[in-house]
């Protein structure tokens, strides 16, 4: 160091804020987010978020297809828990038409949706732990996820995008021993998440990294509409399965975890607990599953069974009419909310009485949660932004639609 500098006070050296661009193609942004941060050292002074890199025109596209054809689009909203989105879509249209799916179909929806919640949290926890440096957990979580994919495959023939529900029920009944297979896989859940939980819950590196970072206060959670695990980690006791039950959730015993910290650690822990609770719901639903049809026998809502289509004239005409002219809910509008993997998934559907929706608006849970992200990151370290992104669990498909 030259003499010239020796007497200088460090504080008086002129410094500048560093503007750093993260994304949209960056491993920590889970696909398609873009952040721009102004850094003072490693502390975030200002942040801008840009979204829309996966804006697939979902809402416009839905206006051009029949109601049942929205099912595959709906599944690609939150691609970590696909089948829940389409279940919820069919539920919204059923409400609109004033019909209800048969009890067995509702139980099947509960089972598939809760399995979807489990794999959603598997992906969330697994990838988040990769982001903060724990690769092992990723393998554990994904191995378990593959087992649930196998169950979906057995039920529907597809791994991920299953197109399982229909308006008025679900398309197929479960194969004979499917429920036994589900129960067997559910038994392994405790062990699978136990491994990961044991690796992180009291791990000094993880705890120091997560506790107290990315804190969403209760007021901010309310103001920003943070529902689901993000809200529940901030002390918001809100779960639509309890508050406004659907598909017979009122019959099942389960707890809603509510933690108060609002930080990354609590958000991760809420997900661990929720997976356990989902397992409880699945087990109860299987034990108490009613028998009967899985699709409504209503010629205006659901396709007739194939033996009627092939053997009777009425069945054939009914099939033809429904395929060509679609399900036609009456004129009206509805807002149907269900508890998705990330929180309240709302469908605001407006029907003009025709076969295609007039307007479909999705209330994406992580859009709301993500909108508080720039605020909570103020004054935090840039490395914590990565960890916080992971625990809020941004799914670009439903964020940008």
């Amino acid at each position: 160091m030259s003499e010239h500098h020796s007497g200088t006070d460090v504080q008086s050296i002129p410094t500048d804020l560093l503007t750093l661009n993260i994304g949209p193609s960056h491993p920590a942004t889970h696909g398609t987010l873009r952040l721009q941060v102004q850094l003072d050292g490693e502390t975030i002074v200002n942040m801008g978020c840009e979204i829309g890199y996966l804006h697939r025109g979902y809402e416009k596209q839905c206006e051009t297809v029949y109601y049942n054809m929205v099912v595959p689009y709906a599944e690609r909203l939150n691609y970590c828990s696909p089948v829940h989105n389409s279940n919820a879509w069919c539920y919204a249209i059923e409400q609109m038409m004033g019909v209800e799916a048969p009890p067995r179909a509702q139980a099947l929806r509960v089972i598939t949706s809760e399995m979807a919640r489990i794999i959603d949290h598997c992906v969330c926890i697994g990838t988040n732990l990769v982001d903060i440096g724990g690769l092992t957990n990723f393998w554990y979580m994904y191995n378990y996820r593959e087992k649930i994919y196998d169950l979906y495959e057995e039920l529907t023939g597809a791994r991920m995008m299953v197109n399982y529900p229909r308006i008025g029920g679900v398309c197929l009944d479960a194969p004979d021993d499917w429920f036994d297979h589900v129960l067997r896989v559910m038994e392994e859940l405790t062990e699978a998440i136990g491994d990961v939980h044991a690796l992180v819950a009291r791990n000094r590196i993880f705890v120091d990294r997560m506790i107290g970072t990315g804190v969403i206060s209760n007021e901010m959670a309310v103001s920003h509409g943070c529902t689901g695990p993000v809200g529940r980690a901030s002390g918001v006791n809100y779960d639509i399965r309890k508050a406004q039950p659907y598909w017979g959730y009122e019959k099942y015993q389960f707890d809603v975890p509510v933690l108060q910290g609002g930080d990354n650690y609590d958000r991760t822990m809420v997900r661990f607990i929720e997976m356990e609770q989902s397992r409880r719901i699945v087990e109860q639903a299987i034990k108490s599953i009613p028998s009967g049809p899985v699709l409504l026998e209503n010629p205006l809502v659901a396709l007739p069974p194939k033996d009627k289509v092939y053997n009777t004239m009425e069945g054939l005409i009914n099939h033809f009419k429904l395929v060509m002219h679609g399900v036609q809910p009456p004129k009206g509008e509805i807002y149907s909310a269900t508890e998705g993997g990330n929180g309240e998934l709302g469908y605001y559907v407006i029907s003009d009485g025709g076969p295609m929706p007039f307007r479909v608006r999705i209330r994406p849970p992580c859009f709301a949660s993500y909108s508080c992200f720039p605020k909570i990151m103020k004054g935090q370290m840039v490395a914590d932004a990565v960890a916080t992104l992971g625990t809020i669990n941004i799914i670009a498909g439903e964020l940008d639609r």
Partner: protein, 176 residues
């Protein structure tokens, strides 16, 4: 509280300002003009018995070509879905927007989530929000012309973007 009662109370309180009420499949909605939006939403939020502390969703609708009502006086609507966690009830407040020359007062200072959701309504429907600090496009790219979810925007009119967009940091973080 029963949702019918909420509508009754709204009618009693605001009278003429409620343009119409709507009931379908057990859900209730009221339609108001843009001028009374903030007044109604603040009252709904702060009234102790109603306690609508959550704004769940803000979504635009373009009614151009909606069959059967040619005498509709407004083309757009902005629907606010409110929820009360304490009382466990919902209500939908819709704002009638005659055309895109009319702007809606922003509620971003009442609910943080409204900031982005209003930006989305602006982006896709071209409805302006007065008092919004950062009314930029959010889903479509900056060079996009027109508003994609309007009924008169053809679904497959594509607009190419040649350069990655420059991003502008917001002056203040709470506006971002």
């Amino acid at each position: 509280m029963d949702e019918v009662q909420i509508v009754e109370r709204l009618k009693a309180k605001f009278g003429e300002k409620i343009l119409s009420t709507y009931t379908f499949a057990g859900q209730h909605a009221v339609t108001i003009g843009p001028d009374s939006l903030r007044e109604v939403l603040i009252w709904l939020r702060d009234d102790r018995e109603l306690d609508f502390s959550w704004l769940m969703d803000v979504g635009g609708v373009d009614y151009l070509g909606y069959p059967g009502d040619d005498d509709r006086e407004w083309r757009f609507e902005v629907a606010y879905q409110l929820y009360s966690l304490g009382k466990n009830h919902r209500i939908r407040v819709k704002v009638a927007v005659t055309d895109d020359s009319v702007s809606v007062p922003s509620v971003w200072d009442l609910w943080g989530v409204a900031n982005w959701m209003e930006r989305e309504v602006w982006d896709l429907f071209g409805i302006r929000f007065d008092g919004h600090p950062n009314l930029r496009r959010i889903l479509c790219h900056d060079e996009f012309v027109g508003h994609a979810l309007r009924k008169d925007y053809p679904i497959n009119r594509r607009q190419k973007l040649l350069q990655p967009s420059e991003m502008i940091l917001c002056e203040r973080m709470e506006w971002a």
